[in-house]
């Protein structure tokens, strides 16, 4: 009963991505609502975020999408080692993103800005909600980055063992789709949190 349906497998992965869009969609809905109600306070709160760090993270993730896409292209061209290298670089870039995020979060927590903290509660409502959304949305996104890195690591191992190859690459391609979606979500998070004027 074994058969390979390449298009079916890809369809399944896209359908899964749709669920992720709706999952984050609920959070984007909350963001949209509260930003429209508290626009001035959101702007005020956003000043507390470092645009530079946000921009670096954006560049890191965009580059990781490049290396991810390249990893499939070079594999299909027959270059297994280059593919594994690209996958490894993607993971390293993901790690860089998380390290950056760690510094950002620790910075805020050190200043006493975290959910339910006295310092945060003394601020305006809009600022409280801004930081609530910041932690929850970048947190959920960060969890997805971790999952993606694990998935790519597994793919690298499978590529090394030949289970993923130029003839049989759809697992890697599907993993790539997931990783690109994680990038797309950040593409929206960046301006919404770091570029509010």
């Amino acid at each position: 009963m074994k058969h390979r349906d390449y298009i079916g497998a890809k369809l399944g992965m896209w359908l899964f991505l749709f669920t992720e869009i709706l999952l984050f969609g609920g959070l984007f809905l909350l963001y949209a609502v509260y930003r429209s109600v508290y626009s001035r306070e959101f702007h005020l709160a956003a000043l507390g975020l470092s645009t530079t760090l946000g921009a670096i993270n954006t560049i890191v993730l965009l580059t990781s999408s490049l290396t991810m896409a390249l990893s499939i292209a070079v594999l299909r061209q027959g270059n297994k080692n280059a593919s594994i290298a690209c996958q490894a670089i993607t993971i390293v870039l993901g790690l860089a993103f998380l390290v950056n995020k760690y510094f950002e979060w620790s910075g805020h927590i050190h200043e006493g800005i975290y959910p339910d903290s006295p310092a945060l509660l003394s601020r305006s409502h809009g600022e409280i909600l801004f930081y609530g959304l910041y932690y929850v949305m970048t947190g959920l996104h960060g969890i997805h980055v971790i999952i993606g890195m694990v998935a790519i690591a597994i793919m690298a191992s499978l590529t090394y063992r030949g289970a993923v190859s130029a003839e049989n690459f759809n697992k890697l391609e599907n993993t790539g789709l997931y990783w690109h979606l994680v990038d797309v979500i950040w593409i929206y998070l960046f301006p919404l949190f770091y570029l509010i004027t």
Binding site: M1, G12, F16, E20, F24, L29, P115, V136
Partner: protein, 528 residues
């Protein structure tokens, strides 16, 4: 029939060959067993509630326990029974057969769906006996009480989250299966209408469930970290919780009803010996209901404090969503017109479905109109409405479909004489239990109350007696189900004379479904 999927050994010995099976038929039966176990649990809780309400005053349970009873009754019936319901059981079993396929697109994912279901159910049940005890917030978990309640809300809600994953994965699997695994010659418009209904349902499962997932996660985060999204003291809006909650939970009711309508659409042509009237109308109305179902959630929130503009928009959309359902009813009736009606048990349950669902649907319009909504919101009128559509509708259709497909799944016929007996218990019991609730609600009896004013006593008394009659019917039906497994008359491949592909293979089917994948040259309801 010796070459059937029961006799074919699984990948593992004994019981493990079932609970680790990737065969859609075994998975469907695993769901069937689980779902009916939880139905009985939920039914017991319902009976306990009705017993407490038999007369004014406190009798058997405290107010706190009563709150837990209606919460857990709702959570079990909705998330453990009716949402997985027809798709996970009969959908899993019949979809590949009706398509002429050997299995679903992702058999291992299918197994994982069941395990997520079991894990979610286990965690929900665990929440009843641990921590602060069973949740008492109502199955709707509205803030602020769900944030402040000392009961085990986070654990229960996490269990529901896992159940949501199960549902989403099933939807993903079915969409891919229907796109990719149709038999040669089976174009979209030669598919059985049950498949169309599963397709529409699958899209709702796929796109709506993630919204409840994030909502429940946010509730857990709120209880644990106090972020403030729904807390006015921190600038949040409790109505946003309601929006997020109902953005899923309204489409969820279409997850419940669409497969039921699909099953009924299978049964009517077979038992009227006529081709279905308006195939395309029924197919497209399924898609229309799925689509419009996303646009009406606000009608659960008319008295919450939403703007007038949004209430008018949601009310209008609510009236529109009734139209495709109405189209189906007309098509079903037209299909029976001048047909040769065989009143076997599947048809008996189907006809009562049409009657009960119509009552439920029409009372929905009373609720959809803004002025009357203010009067009935939060009363027993609502309770009656949703039991008529969910129980009188979906569950009666589920019973119909069980009787219809029983021979295919088990190779035996259920006892028809006994079926007529418990059908009358079910029909009479159901109406006795729920119809008085319309009257009680209209007279002002609020829902989720453990006690009431003496003037409501008569209605409640009748209702409680109805619950006993209904429960008797359910138990008799279970008895027939299990007894017929060993004592039922042997069924042939096609005891009802159906024309869809599942009847072209043996009862029960072999492990690979078909000896040879059939080639399809005509539509699914041609009997002549």
């Amino acid at each position: 029939m010796d070459n059937n999927f029961y006799n074919t050994p699984g990948n593992y010995p004994g019981m493990f060959g079932w609970i680790f099976s990737t065969d859609h038929k075994r998975i469907g039966l695993l769901y069937l067993g689980s779902i009916f176990t939880f139905f009985l649990c939920g039914m017991t809780l319902g009976l306990a509630m009705r017993l407490e309400l038999i007369a004014p005053g406190t009798h058997f349970v405290t107010a706190q326990t009563y709150n837990a009873l209606f919460t857990v009754h709702g959570v079990i019936m909705i998330f453990l029974f009716i949402i997985p319901g027809i798709p996970a059981t009969l959908g899993n079993f019949m979809l590949p057969l009706q398509l002429g396929a050997r299995d679903v697109a992702f058999p291992r994912l299918n197994l994982m769906s069941w395990w997520f279901y079991i894990a979610g159910a286990a965690i929900v049940l665990f929440s009843l006996f641990s921590g602060g005890g069973p949740p008492d917030t109502g199955w709707t978990f509205y803030v602020p009480y769900s944030v402040r309640s000392g009961t085990n809300v986070s654990v229960a809600v996490f269990g529901v989250f896992l159940l949501g994953i199960s549902s989403t994965l099933t939807g993903l699997n079915f969409i891919t299966t229907i796109h990719r695994l149709r038999a040669p010659g089976m174009t979209w418009f030669r598919m059985p209408l049950f498949v169309w209904s599963l397709y529409a349902t699958a899209w709702v499962q796929l796109l709506a469930t993630p919204v409840i997932a994030i909502t429940l996660l946010l509730l857990i985060v709120e209880r644990s970290f106090g972020v403030g999204f729904f807390d006015p003291a921190k600038g949040g809006d409790p109505i946003m919780f309601e929006h997020l909650f109902w953005i899923y939970s309204h489409p969820a009711v279409y997850i419940m009803i669409l497969p039921a309508m699909g099953a009924v659409t299978e049964i009517i042509p077979v038992f009227s010996r006529r081709v279905i009237y308006g195939y395309k109308a029924i197919a497209f109305s399924s898609l229309a209901i799925a689509l419009f179902g996303y646009l009406v959630w606000g009608h659960h929130m008319f008295t919450s404090g939403m703007s007038d503009e949004s209430r008018m928009i949601f009310s209008l959309l609510t009236f529109l969503v009734a139209v495709p359902s109405g189209i189906k009813i007309f098509n079903w009736l037209a299909s029976m017109y001048k047909g040769s009606i065989q009143l076997d048990s599947p048809m008996l349950f189907t006809l009562s479905f049409i009657f009960l669902f119509s009552i439920g649907g029409l009372t929905g319009l009373v609720q959809g109109a803004l002025a009357t909504n203010v009067h009935v919101h939060g009363t027993y009128f609502i309770v009656a409405h949703f039991h008529y559509v969910m129980f009188g509708g979906t569950v009666f259709a589920f019973f119909a479909a069980l009787h219809y497909w029983y021979p295919k799944m088990f190779g035996r016929m259920m006892n028809e004489k006994l079926a007529r007996v418990y059908w009358s218990f079910l029909f009479i019991g159901f109406n006795t239990l729920y119809f008085p609730m319309f009257v009680l609600g209209w007279q002002g009896m609020p829902r989720r109350y453990y006690d009431y004013l003496p003037k409501y006593h008569t209605g409640h008394l009748i209702s409680t007696i109805g619950s006993w009659v209904l429960a008797t019917g359910v138990l008799l039906m279970f008895f027939n189900f299990f007894r017929s497994l060993s004592r039922g008359k042997q069924a042939g491949d096609n005891p009802w004379g159906g024309a869809t592909l599942e009847w072209q293979t043996s009862s029960p089917p072999p492990a690979e479904n078909f000896e040879k994948i059939p080639e399809v040259t005509k539509g699914p309801y041609t009997f002549r």
